[in-house]
């Protein structure tokens, strides 16, 4: 990696007397059937590996959190894959967020009982925002994650559902603001245009999400380098970054990301 292509922000030196919350590195596992898959812009998916094996590998390597997304659950209305969640949760002792096909309070309960710590809701939340309220009031807001999958439409970002297939006519800014009212505890924002492309995060979208809410915001879609993490965490002030394709392909490694970010003054979890 050698040379550093970006400069250290002189205004935010790493100083043990300045408290900054730690930023999170999250691994994204897109699941289809029994396998982890990865496509580009949510299409043309190919098999990457086994969910439990990959989760366990990333846990051992020091990932802070795992985001599991069942990519077909909401499309076909198929039953949730609790068996896979159970398997994934078996050997990892960091938080696990599960999304895809969470349509009711019972779906959420089932996922939590299978080993999820948080549930991410997108499609069902758009058609029935009260679901967000039900989940957050029953299980706590720390458990209810709003997943927003957005595509650039003219000068704005539109929310899409069903794994990037359906337009909703709902726009990102308004949607995040109203979801916060419904009690969600975290916003997970994915750029469909960048998903799987390794072209870098869409910083404008992330900044927009950041400006709409005080909640923790996690960015996803297009991460290709440590610099992408740095920009997302510093320029867009996100609380965490989620990485899929670049991690699966070995373009970035977890300890490398962690170490380089720490060198650049970003508070990271110390993994022993």
């Amino acid at each position: 990696m050698g040379e550093q292509k970006w400069r250290v922000d002189p205004e935010k030196p790493r100083n043990k007397f300045t408290f900054m919350s730690m930023k999170r590195l999250i691994a994204r596992l897109d699941i289809k059937g029994q396998k982890v898959i990865k496509g580009v812009q949510m299409e043309g998916q190919r098999i990457v590996g086994d969910p439990a094996e990959l989760a366990s590998k990333y846990y051992e390597a020091g990932i802070d959190e795992i985001f599991y997304l069942d990519t077909v659950a909401s499309l076909y209305g198929r039953e949730n894959m609790t068996a896979i969640v159970e398997q994934v949760a078996q050997s990892i002792f960091v938080p696990l967020t599960v999304g895809g096909g969470i349509r009711s309070l019972d779906d959420a309960r089932l996922m939590l009982r299978s080993g999820a710590d948080k549930v991410a809701m997108n499609s069902a939340a758009v058609s029935n925002p009260r679901l967000l309220q039900e989940v957050s009031s029953t299980f706590g807001s720390q458990c209810a994650v709003l997943s927003v999958e957005a595509k650039r439409v003219e000068n704005d970002w539109e929310v899409f559902t069903n794994n990037g297939r359906d337009r909703t006519g709902v726009f990102v800014g308004k949607w995040i603001e109203s979801a916060q009212e419904f009690g969600v505890g975290e916003v997970f924002i994915t750029s469909i245009d960048r998903d799987g492309t390794k072209r870098g995060l869409d910083l404008d979208l992330k900044k927009l999400a950041r400006s709409c809410t005080d909640l923790p915001v996690i960015g996803s879609g297009g991460v290709a380098s440590v610099q992408d993490f740095h920009r997302a965490l510093r320029e867009a002030d996100l609380d965490g970054v989620c990485v899929g394709a670049a991690l699966h392909s070995g373009t970035v490694e977890i300890d490398q990301i962690r170490n380089e970010l720490a060198e650049h003054g970003i508070e990271m979890r110390k993994v022993s």
Binding site: F19, M22, G62, L112, A116, S141, G185, S272
Partner: protein
């Protein structure tokens, strides 16, 4: 004496994460859903996610408060996790007022952001350093862990003990101290999730499960 770990199930939360983590260190784990008379336990774990009022209502409805009091009388150590720690206090100030188990005198209150450092959020979600051993309240729970080990937090409320000597670890939030663990006698509580805090968290659970019953 072989350990028998009772994990209290009151219908809210991530019971199975706690079970899986405890199963690393004990072969005898009982899921306890309601009060039972002749239950032989060496450790009681009270997990928790969700709200204070939901949790305490469910605990009472199932008679688990009685079980907790009985086991503590027998000298059995208790570990409350997250909301499980919050309900140990005298009362919770949520949307409404709820009375708690009163094992740790004090209140549970909503987190507030005062001196915005621009990086703290509510809920407080993510990894944070834990500093044990303040107030001389050093305990076995943190044996073998460095001061400043990182743990995973996910909460919107915090515990404020009346007696500061009940505080056994603190963390930083919004530029100030946050109570991240309490201890009073055999009553232990952690605000973070040891079952979700990687190897350090597992060590906390392991330490708890090696605490002896007081005779």
């Amino acid at each position: 004496m072989t350990s028998v770990v009772g994990v209290l199930d009151y219908g809210c939360g991530n019971l199975h994460s706690v079970l899986r983590a405890c199963a690393r260190f004990s072969d005898n784990i009982e899921i306890v859903e309601e009060f039972q008379n002749n239950l032989d336990l060496t450790h009681v774990v009270l997990p928790g996610v969700g709200s204070y009022s939901n949790a305490i209502n469910e605990i009472r409805t199932r008679g688990l408060d009685q079980l907790i009091h009985e086991k503590l009388n027998d000298g059995v150590p208790l570990l409350g996790i997250c909301v499980g720690m919050q309900v140990l206090t005298t009362e919770g100030h949520e949307n409404c007022f709820s009375s708690g188990l009163d094992l740790i005198g004090g209140t549970t209150e909503m987190l507030s952001l005062t001196k915005s450092d621009n990086s703290s959020r509510i809920p407080n979600m993510g990894w944070n350093a834990v500093m044990p051993g303040i107030n001389g309240n050093d305990n076995q729970l943190f044996a073998g862990l460095e001061s400043g080990f990182d743990a995973y937090f996910a909460h919107s409320f915090e515990v404020k003990p009346n007696d500061r000597t009940d505080i056994s670890a603190s963390s930083k939030f919004d530029g100030r101290d946050l109570v991240s663990a309490v201890k009073r006698g055999q009553v232990y509580g952690v605000q973070f999730h040891p079952e979700k805090s990687g190897e350090s968290g597992l060590r906390v659970l392991k330490n708890f499960l090696s605490i002896d019953v007081l005779t």
